[in-house]
């Protein structure tokens, strides 16, 4: 993708989408690049070039099992995205420039296949016994399958 990187982890059957900042940091996770090198690369791309941004990226990448932390102490200091935004003084709109890793578990054939009955949480009518629901029960204020 133009500004993104897709990664498929065949060991865990997970797929990840790295935005521009996360992808840039990930490409530099080669065991040789220093934080300074990464900061320069971020700045060259017009992305927030802060040490905290690199930390956030590595935290996100580590959560997705895309990097291994060399220094466990460093990993303990990773903060949440919200904390990081506050620390960087960024508005929500600017947060899109921060590293984001979105992940999904690749579905099994059965999960991606058609099912004959509606799983829990599917809107249904009428209330009460309902053969369309796998549970056979349609209930709740907003009428969903149990």
């Amino acid at each position: 993708m133009a500004d993104e990187v897709l990664v498929y982890d065949s060991k865990r059957d997970r797929a990840h989408c790295l935005n521009k900042a996360a992808a840039l940091v990930w490409r530099h996770c080669d065991g040789r690049s220093s934080v300074q090198t990464v900061l320069k690369a971020l700045a060259a791309e017009g992305l927030p070039a802060e040490r905290a941004v690199v930390q956030l990226a590595i935290s996100e990448l580590a959560k997705a099992n895309l990097v291994e932390a060399v220094d466990p102490y460093e990993q303990l200091r990773f903060r949440s995205r919200r904390t990081m935004l506050k620390q960087l003084g960024l508005m929500a709109a600017a947060s899109v420039a921060l590293p984001i890793v979105q992940s999904i578990v690749a579905p099994s054939v059965a999960e991606a296949a058609s099912t004959a009955c509606a799983p829990p949480g599917t809107p249904c009518t009428p209330a009460g016994p309902n053969a369309a629901c796998c549970s056979n029960i349609c209930t709740g204020g907003s009428l969903t399958c149990l």
């Binding site: 990187v5 059957d13 690749a106 991606a112 009518t125 309902n130």
Partner: protein
Amino acid sequence: MEDLDSLRWAAGFSFRAYGLKIGFRVNRQGLDSQLKALLPPGWSPSEARVVDHLYSLRLGIPAGHPVVGQFHLAYSGSVQVARSLDLEETLESLASDLRLLVAATAKTGVFVHAGVVGWKGRAILIPGRSWSGKSTLTEALVRAGATYYSDEYAILDARGRVHPFATPLSIRPEGPGRARKTPVGEIGGTAGRRALPVGLVISTRYDPQARWRPKTLTAGETALVLLDNTVAARRLGGTTFGVFKRLTSTAIGLRGPRGDATITADAILQSLERQADCVQRTPRRIADVPSTQSSAASRATQKRLHHRGDGR
């Protein structure tokens, strides 16, 4: 399988579909046309005596016969996929298993669980799991004038184009009851025949309280939506990304809950039309268009369709 092999079979045939060779055998003659009606779109006859997969159908003894054993039985390989007194139900279970087998093991094409329609030379994909409301939205789009491609699978080729898989629509009744297979002609639509580039990928779920105000997805997010509904996702893994990359070079991804299917369908078609206009005029602003256009279209049709029921 050996147990099945030892039984007497009266007829059989083989066919090719999506790079697979599949065989059928049945214990009674004269069912060829009924069985061939179950085959996936795009099949072609084959003379192969050795197949990748074999289906077996044992028709039960008609009701009223003094001999016990009236169930119709269908097997996919050695696995029983149907056991019923109702032949239609048995054949539907067999057809459903056959479509899933093809989707999961096809040697050509990536099968994404999705509704698909064509509109002015572009395809609209609605990937989603069963019961997410995609069939209803597909039906609404066809009723609004779109060309029907599929309400079950989007078949993507290496160039990221979508091919028709126009099986009859599966229309579920408002209340409890089995879905009814409805030929597209019955709802006033026509089926597409040629491959189309994709214009929109819509990730949505029916919510009676919602209004269609989608968020535009990035190309990577759109690819994740597609992979999340790819039948052979685990077998194909990252090899699908090349297809998705080409697909997203012409398509925009939209995500959000939707309310009434008819209102949403009108909004979607209008947004695709505006998108096409924008591509001709200002290609770089294309990503800004869909959400605003669809909201406007939704407002425009809200009054007109106010009393159309739940519209799922």
